[in-house]
């Protein structure tokens, strides 16, 4: 039955690849270029086109992107499922708000940066702590205990009015000010959050390419191999949870002043954790741009669903189901494969090899190696026996 359900998804790959072909040609298959284009579009083109409310929503989407990057480290790199994403986000929001806000509150008026650091460290600490007893066990226990952490946060931290600052109190959480520059307006705060999202993306990218990032990825792929080369799965799992929690904490710290008042607890309940989890599951973790696109969509689509009286949980549920069916690469991974193939085609064309683009963009597994025709100096194409491209579900490689 599932096979039947999945059949349309498989059929989508070919038209998707064809649709992506012009983009691939335009960018030379370089995944950085769409990222830069997306950044410029967000920073320059989008704000003047959008009304204030939508700027606010896109800002929320950028913060969801940072949250999703944190979850992606845990879900995608070390292969564990964290069901406390919303709880950690809320913990950072409320702890940051507690120290930063002004008004009817016990401790207030800290500068934004120390308050935010406290929130971030608190989220990282909680996330790391829950990993300590579970990192040696199977992923199933991690799921249960992170769900336990989520429920505990809901029933403890989120139920203290003096921390969350809610329940009708007159509490103001101002937008921050840095070096005399106020980020009070929605547009300025949008740019601040965009900078934070870009910084988080650069950090995650650098971490992924570092020794530690590779170690985390190896743990997911093969724990025994990792242990054999001296990588401690236990330590790296805890590290991944702490870093992931920290990134979620960053999102929380910027979410605290987003609404100018403490946000409602309902945004940080257990179902919201599943909704957030769906983002890296759908997007995959190979491309940060994919995560950002899905996160922005997940922040904006519920607004459209709202007018049709549809719960955002529907989107989360469909996302989780689709994400698991598409596979660990997610939608982003599949698109990246297509772009990578386009890059290979561009390189082959540049060195004088004419490649059948139809065949190149076909992602299905070819039963036999396909031969590549070389351009014979403008004359009729002839098949060169020595030049073969083996088509796999990975980018093609030239055989000597």
């Amino acid at each position: 039955m599932l096979q039947k359900l999945m059949a349309p998804l498989g059929k989508l790959k070919e038209p998707l690849a064809k649709a992506m072909a012009p983009l691939g040609k335009l960018t030379g298959g370089n995944p950085l270029i769409p990222g830069i284009v997306a950044f410029v579009a967000l920073a320059v083109i989008v704000p003047p086109l959008l009304a204030g409310y939508w700027i606010f929503l896109v800002t929320a989407g950028l913060l969801t992107t940072i949250t999703a990057m944190g979850l992606a480290i845990i879900v995608g790199w070390v292969g564990e499922v964290n069901l406390a994403g919303a709880g950690l986000l809320g913990a950072s929001v409320y702890v940051t708000g507690y120290f930063y806000r002004v008004g009817d509150s016990r401790l207030n008026g800290w500068p934004f940066i120390p308050a935010a650091l406290t929130g971030i460290l608190f989220a990282a600490f909680l996330s790391g702590m829950v990993a300590i007893p579970t990192a040696r066990f199977s992923g199933i226990y991690v799921m249960v205990l992170t769900l336990g952490l989520q429920i505990t946060l809901e029933r403890t931290l989120f139920s203290f009015p003096w921390i969350i600052g809610g329940f009708g109190r007159n509490v103001i959480v101002n937008r921050p000010k840095f070096l005399g520059v106020s980020f009070d307006s929605d547009l300025r705060f949008f740019y601040l959050c965009l900078a934070a999202a870009v910084a988080a993306g650069l950090f995650v990218n650098a971490l992924r390419n570092s020794r530690h990032g590779r170690a985390m990825n190896l743990i997911r792929t093969d724990k025994r191999a990792a242990a054999a080369v001296g990588i401690s799965p236990w330590r790296y799992k805890i590290l991944a949870f702490a870093i992931g929690g920290g990134l979620i904490g960053v999102a929380g710290a910027f979410t605290a002043p987003l609404y100018r008042s403490p946000p409602a607890i309902v945004q940080f309940i257990a179902f919201q954790s599943l909704f957030l989890l769906a983002i890296p599951v759908v997007a995959g973790t190979r491309t940060l741009l994919g995560i950002a696109s899905v996160a922005l969509s997940f922040a904006l689509i519920p607004q459209a669903l709202e007018s049709h009286h549809l719960s955002p949980f529907l989107l989360g549920g469909i996302g989780l189901i689709a994400g698991t069916i598409v596979g660990p690469g997610g939608l982003g991974g599949n698109l990246l494969d297509i772009l990578q193939k386009q890059k290979e085609v561009a390189i082959l064309s540049a060195v004088g090899l004419a490649v059948d683009v139809e065949a190149e963009v076909d992602l299905t597994v070819a039963p036999t190696p396909a031969r590549v025709e070389t351009d014979n100096g403008g004359g009729p194409s002839v098949a060169a026996d020595g030049d073969e491209i083996v088509l796999r579900d990975r980018p093609p490689r030239l055989k000597a």
Binding site: S138, Y141, G148, I151, R155, T156
Partner: protein, 319 residues
């Protein structure tokens, strides 16, 4: 958070009965979780969604429309039907069974060889989808649900106890006895245990693994549906409540290593007792936050002490 420790025997007696009912309720869902885990090595979070769907369906069939607070929202979904309760319970349980069978056919079919954590994530997605459907139809519902056993009470150990609570305990006892009988005294039970112990060997000796697995998922779905129907008269009807209870049941199953039905039931009863005693004030005034911390500590300790025992089984499941 407030803590003022003391011991009150009268409250202990009252909470004991309440705790057994609560633990029995957690136990019903824990049984469903353990059964399906033994079949497919998947934590059946989907049971939370099934319980939600069945509970909403039951409420839709039996609730008095004049007492439905969401009527102001409008729409035919709030026009409940006031049906007789027992046929509604049967229909809600059948809905749970059907949903369980559908999910079981998916996870024991094409997904049979997929990594178990992936399939468990799929199970989370299915739960969220079912909860999302319920939340879309009945937005922000937080309704009172009539019990199938009425609203009357009786006296037990000098305390007033609802028939509903007693019925939950009786149902759980009947379930345990009948499941124990099926699993230990029948050919089907032998086949189920064979699949749980070694799925490849079971297949080699000709046991129809997929059919039986789907059957177990179907039965577990029915249990989850029953759990949802029995839960909501004790709390209220809302999507968030069921996930909260599912965690308790899952914790019970964890304490049983996701392997043993008696241990899972024991774990669920411990959770029910601790929650009831702390909430009932047996040990003095303890805030709800501390109650959660205590339960979470038990869960963590349970994982650390008991999970090692089952680790090889889980590693096998994830291989």
């Amino acid at each position: 958070m407030v803590v003022a420790l003391s011991f009150h025997f009268d409250l202990f007696k009252f909470s004991l009965v309440q705790g057994v009912a609560l633990g029995a309720l957690y136990g019903i869902l824990a049984i469903a979780l353990v059964l399906t885990f033994r079949m497919s090595r998947v934590v059946g979070f989907v049971h939370g969604g099934i319980a939600t769907a069945s509970a909403f369906f039951y409420w839709y069939l039996v609730a008095d429309p004049t007492l439905v607070s969401g009527q102001s929202v409008g729409g035919s979904a709030w026009n409940t039907h006031q049906w007789p309760k027992f046929p509604a319970v049967i229909l809600a349980v059948l809905l749970g069974a059907a949903l369980g069978a559908v999910f079981g056919s998916v996870v024991t079919g094409r997904m049979a060889t997929w990594p178990r954590v992936t399939v468990t994530t799929f199970s989370l997605g299915a739960m969220l989808l079912l909860a999302g459907i319920a939340a879309s139809i009945w937005k922000s519902a937080f309704e009172n649900v009539p019990s199938p056993f009425g609203e009357k009470s009786t006296h037990l150990l000098g305390n007033s106890v609802r028939y509903h609570d007693l019925a939950v305990v009786v149902i759980m006892v009947l379930l345990v006895v009948s499941l124990n009988f099926v699993l230990t005294r029948t050919k089907l039970g032998t086949q189920i245990r064979a699949i749980a112990d070694d799925i490849d060997a079971a297949e080699i000796v000709g046991i129809p693994v997929q059919k039986i697995s789907i059957g177990v998922w179907c039965a577990a779905g029915a249990l989850a549906g029953l759990g949802g129907v029995l839960l909501t008269p004790m709390t209220r009807l809302g999507t968030g409540v069921i996930l909260f209870v599912l965690l308790r049941s899952t914790a019970g199953a964890v304490l049983g290593g996701f392997d043993s039905l008696p241990l899972a039931l024991g774990g669920a009863l411990i959770f029910g007792q601790v929650e009831s005693q702390v909430q009932g004030g047996t040990f003095g005034t303890i805030g709800s936050g501390w109650r959660e911390v205590i339960l979470m500590t038990i869960l963590f300790l349970g994982v650390i002490l008991l999970a090692r025992r089952s680790q090889s089984r889980f590693q096998l499941a994830e291989g």
